[in-house]
Subunit: 371 residues, 2 copies
Amino acid sequence: MPVPRQVFIAVIGAGGVGKCFLSQLSQLTSNLARSPSAPTTLSLVWLSTSKKAVYHADYKPLGNWESDLEASTSPTLPLPDLASYLEKAPGKAVLIDNTSNQDVADSYPLFLRKGISIVTPNKKAFSSTSQLWRDIFSAASNGTGAGGYIFHESSVGAGLPVLSALKELVETGDQVRKIEGVFSGTMSFLFNSFQPVAGGGGKFSAEVKTAKDKGFTEPDPRDDLNGLDVARKLTILARLAGLEVESPTSFPVQSLIPKELEAVASGDEFMARLPEFDDQMDELKTAAEKEGKVVRFVGSVDVPKGEVKVGLEKFDTSHPIAALKGSDNIIAFYTERYGDNPLIIQGAGAGGEVTAMGVTGDLIKVLRLLQ
Amino acid sequence: MPVPRQVFIAVIGAGGVGKCFLSQLSQLTSNLARSPSAPTTLSLVWLSTSKKAVYHADYKPLGNWESDLEASTSPTLPLPDLASYLEKAPGKAVLIDNTSNQDVADSYPLFLRKGISIVTPNKKAFSSTSQLWRDIFSAASNGTGAGGYIFHESSVGAGLPVLSALKELVETGDQVRKIEGVFSGTMSFLFNSFQPVAGGGGKFSAEVKTAKDKGFTEPDPRDDLNGLDVARKLTILARLAGLEVESPTSFPVQSLIPKELEAVASGDEFMARLPEFDDQMDELKTAAEKEGKVVRFVGSVDVPKGEVKVGLEKFDTSHPIAALKGSDNIIAFYTERYGDNPLIIQGAGAGGEVTAMGVTGDLIKVLRLLQ
């Protein structure tokens, strides 16, 4: 009978993804405790939001995290103090960062060097300066360092196995030539509705309003339309494919925010004035239509040329990118071994449950490596 | 400076997949030897075909395996002797089975119990009796046992990340409702040519002949057309999704071999008489066309109903399965978390390099777990 081992889990963030993850964690904890071959006790010892935290100095597992967090009046600790707390845990510790916070991301090297593993969908850790990327992977055991492990599948395409597929192509010696796809659920929805393959579609500003009303956009839709979210994902993919990318603003990114509306004070004012620019978008649509094509907002990495770009492109209506549905993502890997027909991964690339699933999947990978 | 560790590798099979794997192994061996964080020496100590073997009693690594194998006059050892040889190696050992041999598959539990890990594209190990499946996974460390690890990504869809994706859905607690797809490169090519979405296409017998001439079929095309290859893959997927499947002949599998030709003596005679049945296939095509659909040879698993089936189905021309190109595979996972739009994985599901890539990827996973 193998001896059960204990792994200490700290979670930062209890928003949409965080809540779904905590529910998946609770199910995983029950499953692992019952595993006949390698029973594992996952102890959730820390949960914090930007404002407060719940934890016990003696690493006693949290009970009902939802009510505990609500009842808590303790402000959260500074990140270095959390790192020390986890370093002193009587067993291996894993930090789950379910935020999109730059400060938390900046502290990853510190956690990793202390032997704490990290699992996260936080894009900012992997798409900021190349210095931060190097600091993270030179500290991590699955980089060149000797610290904790780090996995971030959900930072691109949520739970879709995009990063694991790319890593395997690279590690097994395939030559990645090009990566191309639709990497934003918001952009996918907007253009699949604006110019469906079957024809029709509404005015661009109307589609943005619909997407906003359905909760598919950030509170200020400009935060989607500026292309930065997609640029961050492309930065991550390009780096994993072996390119040096200084930052997500170091390559061409097309913003869909009209110049004139960049500086307007509020998202509401932006939405009110967006219809003034519908004619420009309709021109693009008509031009594509004349070539038998549709317009889509895509990102691509040309690995041999070292080129990364994000913006509008035209696709034949029979192209898999044109035929995408709803708010799905699609990612095509063109490689030497796959030849002309790429390896394609497609499906929901946003949403609490599927993003949390990528995080939970990564946690399982870390637990196997910590054996 | 970490101490380099040594892992002993034995390879059975030096055919199409075997040769590609040996070339990928040689590249991986160089990469791992240079790894700054965890240098690993992979020592290829055994290589055998059905007829002969090359190895040294003192575990000295093989030099030039190609010329060594050609020059060898040693018959291969019985499998239990190979298992003892690897068990006594002065370090961890991994058996790579690049055959499709049932005897080798039947011996996996023996190897695993001796602590030898296994990586293989050999479908027969996972799609024969449910007793063999249980014996394998009750011996393996990544099953319920304490023996070696076993991975078999390439047994379905070659290097496409199909099994790893399915395992992650299950392990993270998603509910898989249905798995559906085209799982045979041969069947994909045949039907994409027989009834292209854009219309046209040749007689069925002519497409079989083209596929045979291009090397896309087994030497006797009946070995593809009987549906057993697809049934074996569905057996594996259904078992990973949690269903009890007794064998690949325990559920409905539609054979495309006309009853009258099942017993003809040779593949050549079969090919000569196949045109007699073109009218029957044309009827199916016309019937589908009248509904605006195309015919495809697919497999599906309905998890809640516990139903597995393989055969011809009709799909709308806009369906991703209809739009498949060349000899690509496509696999759609319908799950609770993904909702109406499934997680789709698509690309080449056959061929030496991509099959070997799945094997190499699995070997890397085993090496990480053996740390």
